[in-house]
Structure formats: structure tokens, C-alpha cells
């Protein structure tokens, strides 16, 4: 009787769920899944649909009739240039981030202990989560012609080097804040923490015994690094590269604030849907990063990136 008194008002319902765990899972999942499917997937579909419409060149209105002409337009020289430029930038940024991130992640995973480790982790987390715009703005200050970098070059007598870099064709410009080098530096900076954290997580999971075993078997530290540690860290690097690559593909604010007037995919999309009012072409443009990321994610999955997330 006392046992019965302790039973709550909802006990019958609880018993029902206990017997049918699948029903409970379905109920729990219903609301969040509905949100994602309706709001997010629904919107994506709406966008995809738009890419099969076209813009009437004379009236400037969207023709709601199925056509592939918008995709054909995507294949024009100028648009291909934008796509190639963006993908090259994303690749360069990802590679650079992997190179810069690795020593930080390696040190944090293998040598930092106790408080030092906590500080290291925070030192990566804080820039990761602090304001994106603030970070971009900081680089506007650094790269400005009258800014700290020029000052540094003057004081270290390396102005000639700075000028030589700015004089490079295509990637140079009147000042770093109006050049592709500038855009590249800001991208590298802003996405770096996204590379450090998964790399570090993968390195943390390399068992110490593996490294000891490789040493016992006579491997030189370099050999151990190349044949044991690096392959095991690769899924983490791949996981990080998903972020650095994807974020670079879609960003339109960084090249707008630091860069020259030649467009990246994000800027093209933003301008096309905004001032140009050409939603179909904008939609077709967004399909490009989606397709690229589809392939990228499939490749990353093969490298085991999803287990390292």
C-alpha cells in the first residue's frame, strides 16, 4: 500500500513508456525534428526550387517556369572564375590552418598538464567564441596602410619586403587590407580555432602505449611521428578542415571588409539576391558550396572525421 502511495500521478503513463520505449523516443524526437525539417530543410528546398526558375532580362522579374538556363548561366566565364577563386581560397586557408594548428594542438595534447592545459584550452576557446565581427575588425586595424603592420615594417627596415608582397600580381594590391593576401590572412585567423580543437581531441586519443611500442620496436621519434601519430591525428585534422573549408566557402563579410572588389561565392550570392534581385542565379550559386561540401563531407567521413567531431 505504501509502495502504491509513493507512485506518482503519472505512473501509468510512465509504465506505458517503459513498455514501449520506441513511442517515447518518437515523442521526444517529434518537435525538434519537425523544427529542423520544416524550417531548415523546407527552406533549403524552397531555395533549390528557385534555382530552376529564371530571371527575365527585360522585365527583371522571376519567371516561375522550370528551366536549366540559370545553371547554364552559372557556367559563364565570370561565374566560373568566382567559384574557382573561392575554392582555391578555401583550400589555401584550410592547409594553412592545419599547419598552424598542429603544433598548438600537439603541445596542448602531449605536454600541457593541469592548470597549463586548462589555460591552453581556454586560450583556444575564447578566440573561437568571441565575436566574429570584432575579429575581422581587428584585422582591418592591423592591415590598414597606416596600421601596425606598416609601422612594424618601417621599424624593422622591411618596407621593401612589404612592398614586394603588395606588388605581386593578382594577390597583391594597394594595401594589405585591399588585397587577396589580406583576405586570406583574415580567413586563416578567424577559422584557426576550429582546426585546433578537433586536432587536439584526436591527438589526445593517441594512446601513449602506441608511441612507447613504436620506440621499443626501434622507430626513430620522427618515424614514430610520421607513421603512428600523424595517421591517428588525421581524422581530427579532417574534422577541423570541414569547418575551415565550409566557412570559407560561404563567407561574404570578410572579403567585403578586407579584400578587393573581385567577388567570392558568398558575395556573389549576397549581391545577386539583394541589389540585383536575381534570386534564381543566387540560388544556383548556393548549390555550388552545397555540392562541394557534399563531396567534402563524404571524403571526410572516409577519413573518420565524424568520429573525431
Amino acid at each position: 500500500m505504501t509502495a502504491l502511495a509513493a507512485r506518482g500521478r503519472f505512473t501509468p503513463l510512465s509504465d506505458f513508456f517503459f513498455r514501449r520505449p520506441g513511442t517515447l523516443t518518437a515523442l521526444l524526437l517529434a518537435a525538434p525534428l519537425a523544427w529542423i525539417v520544416i524550417v531548415y530543410i523546407g527552406s533549403l528546398m524552397a531555395l533549390l526550387l528557385q534555382s530552376f526558375y529564371s530571371l527575365d532580362d527585360f522585365s527583371g522579374l522571376v519567371v516561375h517556369k522550370f528551366t536549366l538556363s540559370t545553371y547554364a548561366q552559372l557556367g559563364e566565364r565570370a561565374n566560373i572564375d568566382i567559384i574557382v577563386r573561392t575554392v582555391v581560397m578555401a583550400g589555401a586557408v584550410t592547409l594553412t590552418d592545419a599547419v598552424i594548428a598542429f603544433p598548438i594542438a600537439y603541445f596542448a595534447a602531449r605536454y600541457a598538464r593541469g592548470t597549463g592545459k586548462a589555460l591552453f584550452y581556454l586560450a583556444v576557446m575564447l578566440p573561437l567564441w568571441s565575436s566574429y565581427l570584432v575579429k575581422v575588425y581587428a584585422w582591418k586595424l592591423i592591415l590598414a596602410k597606416e596600421g601596425i603592420l606598416t609601422w612594424f615594417a618601417i621599424h624593422t627596415h622591411t618596407t621593401w619586403l612589404l612592398n614586394a608582397i603588395l606588388g605581386l600580381p593578382t594577390i597583391g594590391g594597394p594595401s594589405l587590407s585591399f588585397s587577396f593576401i589580406g583576405t586570406y590572412l583574415v580567413f586563416v585567423y578567424v577559422w584557426l580555432p576550429y582546426m585546433i580543437l578537433p586536432t587536439q581531441a584526436a591527438l589526445e586519443r593517441v594512446p601513449k602505449s602506441y608511441i612507447e611500442a613504436s620506440a621499443d620496436l626501434g622507430a626513430h621519434p620522427r618515424q614514430a611521428f610520421r607513421t603512428v601519430i600523424l595517421p591517428l591525428a588525421l581524422p581530427g585534422i579532417a574534422a577541423g578542415s570541414i569547418f575551415t573549408f565550409s566557412l570559407t566557402l560561404g563567407d561574404y563579410i570578410i572579403p567585403q571588409i578586407v579584400g578587393n572588389s573581385r567577388f567570392f561565392i558568398g558575395q556573389a550570392v549576397y549581391t545577386l539576391q539583394g541589389t540585383a534581385g536575381n534570386i534564381p542565379l543566387a540560388a544556383a550559386f548556393t548549390v555550388v558550396p552545397m555540392v562541394i561540401m557534399g563531396f567534402y563531407l563524404a571524403g571526410a567521413k572516409r577519413l573518420g572525421a565524424f568520429d573525431a567531431l
Binding site: L28, L29, I36, I104, F107, E146, L192, V269
Partner: protein, 272 residues
């Protein structure tokens, strides 16, 4: 090898790691320096003089800062609340059972951060247009909640995985029903992870600009205000003062989230 066995890093590694960390932090320090400069028109370095004048200006003479600030706070609060509810439900469902299509469902929740923000933004905008929805507070919230869910979801899922099933079983054995078990056993276990996820979601929403430019219409959140100042600067140091303020505001929740989840680095690789 000897040095590695003793746990001492090589000089090259130390230098590379230190340089990397400096690279991450020095630019933010520079934001602080420029908040005190007397030079209003350019980014001259070193600043010709130092003043605290701009803090007073930002506080008293720039009423245009406040409405975006309040809007950002409100949006972040509502988006975080929605994300907490949906993210926790999703994590609870996916952690407690394995079913056909589970992998795909979990991919769905991560998709809003795996795909570039501009895709989320323009998709939502075209959906609003098709449905004839006008831009409002809620259109911003809709976008923010969608990518905030994943942050809470990641944190909650990590905690669900770590918490042991035996506690729940013990509670059931002692006669508690599943609601009582949830209230007295599960909730205390996941509470700090939820708080951490909530804070990160708040920081993320408060700071978001890419999706917001598509879903806000004529409204300005604080990041949009800042973006406008970057493109068409008026008093540059005032932008720095606001930036310093934003860094301070987001710093605290991030620090708190770290301490709440530090036993197992749950936020690691969670990404935005």
C-alpha cells in the same frame, strides 16, 4: 625521443605553439588599444594620443547603439530558450535508443552548422518570401534557433553519453517512475551541460551576423550595427568601444560554460 619520454617539448614545438597562440590573441588586444586612441579618422599606429573620451561618447551621445543592443539580447534569449528545449529533446531521444535512420537524423541537426551560414540565410529568406512572411523579431529568432539547437544538442548528447545508465536503473528499481527519475536523477546530471550549452548558444546568437543579414530586413541587431559601422565608419573609436564591450559580454558566458563542462571537454570541436 629522450625529451618526449620525459614530457618536455622540443624548442621548435614550443616556439611554434607560442607563436600560434600569440597570433590568436594579439589582434584582440589591438581592439582594446584603439578604443583609447585620439585619432578618429584613420587607424594610425601607434595612436597619436590616448583618451577615455570615446567611452563617454558611446554611453551618452550615441543613442543608435542601444536599440540594436536590446534587440540582440531579446533575440538571443528567445533563440536560446527554443534551442534548449529542442536540443535537449533531440539529444535525449538520440542517446536513449538506436533506430533505423538515426545517423541521418543526427546529421540533420548538425547540418545548419556544417553548411555555410549564407545558405541558411538565403534559404530562410526565400522561404519567407514564398510564404509572404514579413521580416520581424520572429524571423530573426527562427534563423538563430535553427543553428543554436546544434550547440545545445552537442553538449547535452556528450553528457547523456557520459552519465551512467545504472543510476537510472537503480532509481527505477527503488520504485521511481520515469518522470520521477527524470526529475531527481537525470536532470541534476545534465543540468550543468544544459547551462553550458545555453550560454554558448546565447553567445553564438548574440554575435551572429551572416544569417541575420538575410532574416532581419530593416531591423538592426548589434552585429548588424557593427557591420554598418565597419563599412561606413562614423566615429571609429566608438566602434572599438562597442567591440570591447561585446568581447567582455561574451567572455563571461564562455568562461562559465568552460567551468561547467570541464570534466570532459564536451564543447571541444562542437564548433559554431
Amino acid at each position: 625521443m629522450r625529451s618526449e619520454a620525459q614530457g618536455i617539448a622540443g624548442l621548435g614545438l614550443k616556439l611554434a605553439a607560442t607563436a600560434g597562440l600569440l597570433f590568436l590573441h594579439l589582434p584582440i588586444v589591438l581592439i582594446f588599444v584603439y578604443a583609447f586612441t585620439t585619432e578618429e579618422k584613420s587607424f594610425q599606429f601607434p595612436p597619436p594620443g590616448y583618451t577615455v573620451h570615446w567611452f563617454a561618447t558611446a554611453w551618452f551621445d550615441r543613442p543608435d547603439i542601444w536599440p540594436p543592443f536590446y534587440l540582440s539580447l531579446e533575440v538571443a534569449a528567445v533563440a536560446t530558450l527554443l534551442a534548449l528545449i529542442f536540443g535537449t529533446l533531440a539529444a535525449a531521444a538520440l542517446s536513449r535508443s538506436r533506430f533505423f535512420g538515426r545517423e541521418s537524423v543526427s546529421l540533420l541537426f548538425v547540418l545548419p552548422i556544417a553548411l555555410p551560414g549564407i545558405i541558411t540565410g538565403i534559404s530562410l529568406r526565400s522561404a519567407f518570401e514564398i510564404m509572404g512572411l514579413d521580416f520581424s523579431f520572429w524571423t530573426i529568432v527562427l534563423g538563430h534557433a535553427t543553428f543554436c539547437i546544434v550547440v545545445v544538442y552537442n553538449n547535452a548528447l556528450a553528457r547523456f553519453r557520459r552519465s551512467s545508465k545504472s543510476m537510472v536503473e537503480a532509481s527505477m528499481d527503488l520504485g521511481a517512475d520515469s518522470f520521477q527519475t527524470f526529475r531527481h536523477v537525470v536532470l541534476p546530471q545534465i543540468a550543468s551541460a544544459l547551462l553550458a550549452g545555453g550560454m554558448l548558444a546565447f553567445a553564438l546568437s548574440f554575435d551572429e551576423v551572416i544569417v541575420t543579414t538575410f532574416t532581419a530586413g530593416q531591423q538592426a541587431t548589434l552585429p548588424i550595427w557593427m557591420l554598418n559601422e565597419l563599412i561606413r565608419p562614423r566615429q571609429r573609436p566608438v566602434t572599438n568601444v562597442v567591440a570591447v564591450f561585446v568581447v567582455a559580454v561574451t567572455f563571461l558566458p564562455i568562461l562559465a560554460a568552460y567551468y561547467l563542462t570541464r570534466e570532459g571537454a564536451e564543447t571541444a570541436g562542437g564548433g559554431k
